[in-house]
């Protein structure tokens, strides 16, 4: 029992760290959203849009995302293997190293050390740090699974194993570079080949950081928190294998109409369409699980997080493949439609499920109940509204932008100069900032609720002792 409580403290450490980096990342997100319509918010050299945007994306993908994944995966793995972690002290070291690495990552990006590869901006010394972090994690997770005390591995463990393997391959291959000093390196890949490697990475980083780990949480915490058994085990088997197989073919849909060989683009588009099926396999499984008793939406405050989260995942996985089609890509690619798409996934799907998982874990660790269901409900509606404002405004302005770029006069000349197409984004960009602020307020309610639950739990265990 003592082992568990030590490991639980590590889990809690990761959850609190990820929330801290989440706050930093969201605040920077609001900041750069203001820079989009008011350039006086740029403070050179460290706080211009070009440097802050990568702190925003890395801070949230690696700080909030990976932090949550590490903590929640340790928790899930312990439960599903019916044993404490194989290397508890290594996990604690992992927690410290993680926070040091994220802090250094943020500082290095502000200093302009940037490989210019999206979601792989960190320079080579930090890349090595990230790989070490990942290896530590993999040893502990896989070791604990191998030494498990439960014969069968539940679906969540499949997704965890696949994520561990895929991210390792993706990150190492895409970051291969020749150092040119401590803070600068040049990729070993050049030209169209470097584009192909980068988007193989870039798309699958989304796949194996923002999709499969979150599905692992979904498959574990939905049945746990509702008390309803998973609808179909067979469906989850099909969904799992077809998802991890198809994902890796699709990176080049980010490069439609670029000089990359056409056949790679076309193959990526085809597999993107195919991906709708396994994605919706999980969506359907989620819906039918709760369909056994829809009243859970009312009676169990966590159910709506999972159902709305999986709904946004379902919308995301239809919208994404649609964007891959040439006829759609040529209109919306390079416009604000794309950030609208991404943020439905991150704000609507990832943080919904991550937050619900944390709501489940923290009271369990302290053997208590959540501090306030009402605060949790307020959090839910604020992040939902904030995200919808964000995504919908960006879709509208993205389509508008794409259409204005294409508009021609009767005599065949372009109808709008670039600046004319730019200024029409400003009203929408302002609305987006409001959406972001509403979302951030929702997250404040969430963090308050988590902290108060911990406080309640601590005083409880103190009184027991």
């Amino acid at each position: 029992m003592n082992d568990y409580s030590y490991d639980n403290q590590t889990v809690k450490g990761f959850i609190l760290s990820s929330l801290f980096w989440g706050v930093v990342g969201i605040l920077i997100g609001i900041w750069i959203s203001i820079q989009m319509w008011n350039p006086s918010w740029n403070i050179p050299p460290y706080f211009t849009f070009g440097r802050l945007r990568v702190v925003h994306t890395n801070g949230l993908a690696f700080g909030l995302g990976l932090g949550a994944i590490f903590g929640i995966f340790y928790y899930i793995t312990m439960r599903l293997t019916k044993r404490p972690l194989l290397f508890p002290r290594l996990a604690r070291f992992h927690l410290y190293l993680f926070n040091v690495a994220i802090a250094l990552a943020a500082l290095s990006l502000l200093a302009g050390m940037n490989q210019s590869l999206e979601y792989a901006e960190l320079e080579w010394p930090l890349d090595i740090g990230v790989v070490i972090l990942w290896v530590i994690f993999a040893i502990n997770i896989l070791g604990t699974i191998i030494k498990r005390r439960e014969e069968q591995m539940y679906i969540s463990l499949w997704f965890i194993i696949a994520s561990v393997v895929a991210v390792a391959v993706l990150y190492i291959v895409n970051n291969l570079s020749v150092p040119a000093g401590l803070f600068k390196s040049y990729s070993i890949y050049a030209g169209i080949n470097s584009a192909n490697v980068q988007w193989w990475y870039g798309h699958n980083a989304v796949g194996f950081v923002f999709t499969t780990p979150i599905l692992a949480m979904f498959y574990y915490f939905l049945p746990k928190s509702t008390g309803l058994p998973l609808y179909s085990h067979r469906l989850s088997i099909i969904a799992f294998w077809s998802l991890v197989f198809a994902y890796l073919w699709t990176g080049a849909h980010h490069l439609v109409y670029t000089p990359l060989p056409d056949w790679i683009q076309t193959l990526a588009i085809v597999f993107s369409m195919f991906l709708i099926a396994p994605s919706w396999g999980s969506v359907v499984n989620g819906y039918y699980t709760v369909a056994a008793d829809w009243s859970k939406m009312r009676t169990n405050y966590l159910t709506k997080f999972f159902i709305f989260g999986i709904t946004f995942y379902g919308l995301q996985t239809v919208q994404g493949p649609t964007q891959a089609l040439r006829v759609v890509s040529q209109l919306i690619h390079y416009t604000d439609w794309v950030p609208g798409h991404v943020h439905m996934g991150t704000m609507g799907w990832v943080t919904m499920i991550v937050a619900a998982s944390m709501y489940y874990i923290i009271p369990k660790i302290y053997n208590t109940e959540i501090y306030s269901v009402r605060v949790a409900n307020t959090h839910f509606y604020l992040v939902l509204i904030g995200q919808l404002i964000y995504s919908v405004t960006m879709w509208i302005t993205g389509i508008q932008q794409g259409a204005l770029w294409k508009a021609v006069n009767p005599d065949g000349t372009l109808k709008y100069t670039f600046v004319e197409t730019l200024v029409r984004n400003y009203p929408f960009w302002k609305l987006r900032t409001i959406g972001g602020i509403i979302f951030a307020i929702g997250m404040v309610f969430f963090i308050y609720n988590i902290l108060m639950t911990i406080r309640k739990g601590k005083s409880l265990s103190a009184s027991v002792a």
Binding site: P39, R53, V54, L255, L267
Partner: protein
């Protein structure tokens, strides 16, 4: 049998790794080994030390967060930016800098489009040229010097050719100088194509049909203020670009005939371009895709009317 794998974690890990690597091999690893992924245009030049230093700054400042560097083969895109991007243009780009978002315009054909002076002013204060621009100001790059030895190290790592003189010449160069040298090199391996106006080609007028027309002059003034004043000054007496109200064109005394005037506005200028026996230094962007035939003639009417006033 099929169920066994879910109780054998090592086997499961190996199988899932293989499943993941199939698509990776077909779309990424195998193409990488073929020459189709490493094309090079014949007249593509490697980066000079100054250009590479500028490219490093482009990366450091995250310019690719707002600017793409690839023109898609779509009609209006080629009109707006120029010839669509070719696979062989990026041989020396490690890594590629195509970007994924156009908060600002694409830069794949920016090299040579504007004169250096335009870029200095624009980086210093983008809103002095485009009052509604949201681009950050980069005037502070003028106060920072390039470290020649660092650039040499970078050239060595990339195995790019350079001379001692080129490294020596970096001394005293600012980061702004380097960035602009890089910007001016982008996309120059592909020749700029003249703007072909169907309406123009079919019925090319040798003389301005709107010459002296007061309505055309008024309209021409508006167009001038929007598109031309930025470089030639509000009074057309010259600024970044030359004066349009003196009688010197391309550094030679004497008027430019209407049809040549039209062509310069329509197609812009590039270094070495010869017009009426006069050689241009380049730096004027083409306006033919934005301004219709009548609009160009109106601008010419307006400029000529200013000249009349001056007499």
């Amino acid at each position: 049998m099929a169920g066994n794998i879910y109780s054998k974690p090592v086997l499961f890990t190996i199988v899932s790794a293989i499943v993941i690597l199939i698509g990776t091999a077909v779309t990424m690893f195998i193409p990488m080994l073929t020459p189709q992924m490493h094309p090079r245009l014949e007249n593509l030049k490697p980066f000079t030390p100054l250009q590479l230093a500028g490219r490093d700054i482009y990366q450091r400042e995250g310019c690719n967060n707002c600017h793409t560097q690839t023109v898609r083969p779509l009609k209006t895109e080629v009109m707006r930016y120029g010839e669509y991007s070719k696979a062989g243009e990026f041989y020396y780009d490690r890594p590629f800098l195509w970007g994924s978002k156009r908060t600002g315009p694409d830069l794949a054909r920016i090299g040579g489009k504007y004169p250096d002076a335009w870029h200095y002013r624009h980086f210093e204060d983008p809103r002095s040229l485009f009052p509604q621009s949201n681009m950050p100001s980069y005037g502070w790059l003028k106060e920072r010097l390039i470290d020649p030895e660092e650039v040499r190290r970078h050239m060595d790592v990339l195995n790019l050719p350079y001379t001692e003189e080129e490294i020596e010449n970096l001394r005293g160069k600012t980061e702004m100088d380097a960035l602009i040298a890089y910007i001016q090199s982008i996309g120059t391996a592909v020749k700029r194509r003249p703007v072909v106006k169907k309406a123009v080609v079919r019925e090319v007028e040798l003389k301005n049909p709107l010459a002296g027309d007061p309505r055309a002059i008024a309209r021409g003034r508006d167009i001038f203020m929007e598109h031309c004043a930025m470089c030639h000054g509000d009074d057309a007496k010259g600024d970044i670009g030359p004066s349009l109200v003196d009688d010197v064109f391309f550094y030679v005394e004497g008027d430019l005939p209407d049809d040549d005037y039209f062509e310069v506005i329509n197609n812009g200028t590039f270094e070495g371009m010869v017009e009426e026996g006069r050689t241009a230094k380049g730096g004027m962007p083409p306006f033919g895709e934005e301004l219709g035939k009548d609009e160009i003639w109106s601008v010419i009417s307006y400029i000529r009317s200013l000249k009349e006033e001056g007499r």
